[in-house]
């Protein structure tokens, strides 16, 4: 078989796949054909049905209707075991790894080669060695998973699939947890795999990745497969429009900033984390009214600790924080809120929301002492719900139901709940961490516009994000953080490469 013909032959075909969960029609009559030896992207917003479709392929769910063909033959995928047997391997968004096992143990799990482990170990080692040389996937087989960086852990997931003889590799949002450098490395690995004849399906909501790596791309929207394009023949704008169903502004438009007086000022701040490691090392900066100051940096360089210290969650070791020119003594989030500081935390699940609460309960989190919401120990539920409903309408939070459990909203809508709560309080200063992590592009546009509006009404905004694009498109000034220090300041039109080098600690 020559390469030319194999490139055209489909490795996997889905014909008329249909799946409902109660009233939710997750997949509507999906048809898809993925060519052998190609990288095929599937893009769509959260809740568009991508993950459901892939779960059907991997045997987690059964389609109500439709057929799956692999290498031309119809197959029935009843469970994960059948999927593995059919040559499908999956790299899950949340790694399916046992953290206190070694790499070798994780790879062997489920494919041990006999009742006793000793028999299979030698073979597994040899096979890992082979995969390492064939695909450049090097990992120490005796390392513990929990001691490996995330990028390596993901490599173990890929190795697991290849070890089981996968010809078709599905990656579900693989770059969500990776640094830009790790993501680039992953893409190189995927290219090697494709060149060796593997078929790769990449599920993502990041348009850049689709453009960078895929050969063909299919777009899903509300359970339907709305289009399939050759990547070379499409554009980011077209894909974004297909995804959302309307035109999307990828870069927010904003006027020149008109900075006013300094509202937030930080002097020689030093913050240590729970282990006693210095994470913020002698940092000083000002944020003025009517400007957005962005802090760029690779995750883990002290931005989180800086935000926490400013929000009063973590007590700094030394240094001073001034709000409106007055020093803030105690690390006290409630006091800071009274002074007009709002905080959209980096991790909405961990800090921003109580997922088991209903939406309206989350909409007053941290502001429940406000006399508008009740008197003494009693809450005025009607007032709270009324206000929650107003915010839902204003921020287009879907589904528009204030009494739905927060966990049942999509990531983007959960983030809107947090954003609405903090912004509607009309604060003087706003601390924002990762405003659009795991958020659909439609919602990203919305949140970005709100942030700009805040600036234009004269608020001081401090933005922390690991998405360099976001920092560049929103900020008026960019501070780059590396290893706990601010290594430099650049205007918002600084080019990506310069900032990238600063983030890597190479140039200032």
């Amino acid at each position: 078989m020559n390469l030319q013909s194999s490139a055209n032959e489909p490795a996997i075909e889905l014909v008329g796949i249909d799946k409902k969960f109660g009233a939710v029609h997750a997949n509507k009559n999906i048809n898809l054909s993925v060519g052998k030896g190609s990288i095929h992207g599937i893009i769509g917003e959260n809740g568009a049905g991508k993950s459901t479709l892939m779960s059907i392929l991997y045997g987690f769910y059964h389609a109500d209707e439709g057929e799956i063909r692999i290498q031309g033959r119809p197959v029935s995928i009843r469970d994960s075991q059948a999927a593995i047997a059919a040559g499908i391997g999956m790299v899950h968004q949340h790694f399916m790894l046992v953290e206190n096992f070694t790499v070798l143990e994780n790879v062997m799990l489920g494919a041990e080669g006999g009742q006793l482990l000793a028999k299979g170990v030698a073979g597994a080692r040899k096979e890992l060695k082979r995969l390492e040389t064939d695909y450049g996937l090097e990992v120490d087989p005796d390392a513990l998973i929990e001691e490996l960086p995330v990028g390596r852990q993901q490599r173990v997931e890929i190795l697991k699939a290849l070890y089981r003889g996968a010809d078709i590799l599905i990656l579900d949002e693989p770059t969500g947890v990776l640094t830009p450098a790790e993501a680039d490395h992953l893409f190189r690995i995927l290219q090697v795999l494709r060149d060796q004849g593997k078929t790769i399906i990449l599920i993502t909501h990041k348009l850049r990745e689709i453009m960078a790596i895929t050969d063909t791309v299919s777009v899903m929207r509300r359970g339907e497969m709305v289009a399939t394009r050759k990547t070379a023949e499409t554009t980011v704008a077209e894909l974004a429009e297909l995804m959302v169903g309307r035109r999307v502004l990828l870069r927010v438009e904003k006027q020149e900033a008109k900075p006013g007086p300094v509202l937030l000022s930080v002097k020689n701040l030093i913050v240590k984390d729970g282990r006693g490691v210095t994470m913020v090392d002698d940092v000083s900066f000002d944020v003025r009214a009517g400007e957005i100051v962005g802090i760029a940096g690779v995750a883990g360089n002290g931005q989180s600790e800086l935000l926490e210290a400013l929000a009063g969650i973590r007590k700094p070791v030394s240094g001073e924080i001034f709000i409106d020119g007055k020093p803030v003594e105690a690390a006290d989030p409630a006091l800071l809120r009274q002074l007009g500081l709002a905080h959209i935390p980096e991790d909405r699940h961990h800090m921003g929301l109580v997922l088991k609460f209903e939406e309206y309960e989350n909409s007053i989190l941290g502001y429940h002492h406000d006399p508008r919401y009740g008197r003494g120990a009693m809450l005025d539920l009607d007032a709270i719900r009324r206000q929650a409903e107003e915010q839902i309408a204003k921020y287009d939070i879907r589904p528009p139901n204030a009494q739905l459990k927060t966990a049942n909203f999509s990531g983007g809508n959960q983030q809107k709940i947090v954003v609405a709560r903090e912004i509607e309080r009309d604060p003087k200063m706003l601390l924002i961490g990762q405003p659009t992590r795991g958020v659909d592009i439609g919602a990203i546009e919305f949140i970005h516009r709100r942030i700009i509006e805040m600036r234009d009404t004269g608020k001081a905004v401090l933005l922390v994000s690991v998405e360099l694009d976001e920092i560049r498109s929103l900020s008026d000034r960019i501070l780059v953080m590396f290893a706990g220090k601010i290594v430099g300041e650049k205007p918002s039109d600084a080019d990506e490469q310069t900032l990238g080098l600063m983030m890597a600690g190479i140039a200032a």
Partner: protein, 323 residues
Amino acid sequence: MEYFDTFVSILGSAIRLSIPLLFTALAGLFSERAGIFDIGLEGKMLASAFAAACAAYWTGNAWAGLGAGIMVAIIFSLLHGFASITNRGNQIVSGVALNFIAAGLTIVLGTAWFNQGGRTGQVPPEGRFSGIVLPGAEMMRDVPIIGPLYANVISGNNILTYIAFLMVPLSWWVLYRTRFGLRLRAVGENPGAVDTAGVSVVWLRYRALIVTGFLAGFAGTYLSIAQSAAFINNMSAGKGYIALAALIFAKWKPVPVMFACLLFGFLDAFANFMQGKSLPMIGEVPVQIFQALPYILTCILLAGFIGVARPPKAGGVAYTKER
């Protein structure tokens, strides 16, 4: 020499007292490493002690007693599995419920069948596991130091005692050297990893619970027809909880579990020995203080002296496939 004899006798008693703990803690080890908390160990022990005593009383055969004990403990385990694996119920609630069922049922059935206020009938000698004198024990007795240790601590125990100690390396081997063990440890940490590897989480957890029942059956049997000769109301007396403490204390590892159980057994034996004795300077110390020692020790040790006891990550959570 007098002190040494006392020490040997406490040591012998410590071994005997630690056996039910050891079986039970190992039983809990299998279930908890598979991600199923088992607060119902106490109930399993009690129910199987009752079953073993009944079977041994009626058949006059100790092995039949053991078989009945094991069977009942496995049935209890399967009930726990049905509630917490199949129906994804709360594992703690299910375990506590089983403890109550065991405590109530043994009294009701015991009173109905034997009419002795919850006691079973006296099990005849052939229905019990009695001490085995190891070869050379009598000859060795006069050798200083080693002699008494061999004759009074190592020799003279019943067969279940030796089985208990054999179970320690066996458990280790199963957990760390077999496919079953690898999968079992994995399912307690990340059931998703097991599921996506094409292995059934449910069946694996049920098998782990069957092993748990098997080992807990030994513990109950030991109580009623090896250590004593009848079932007595609530004769497990909290040993199931002590075994859980030992399990946590030993960080869910088989060999440390053995040492933890020996330590708790020793404290128990020491408490018995101190009963009615007075300490120099202090006078008579209430025996309850010594009886409370294992619990106090557990609290102190868990409060930081053994470092962080990291339980199996997926423990206590029923597995549902993510959407």
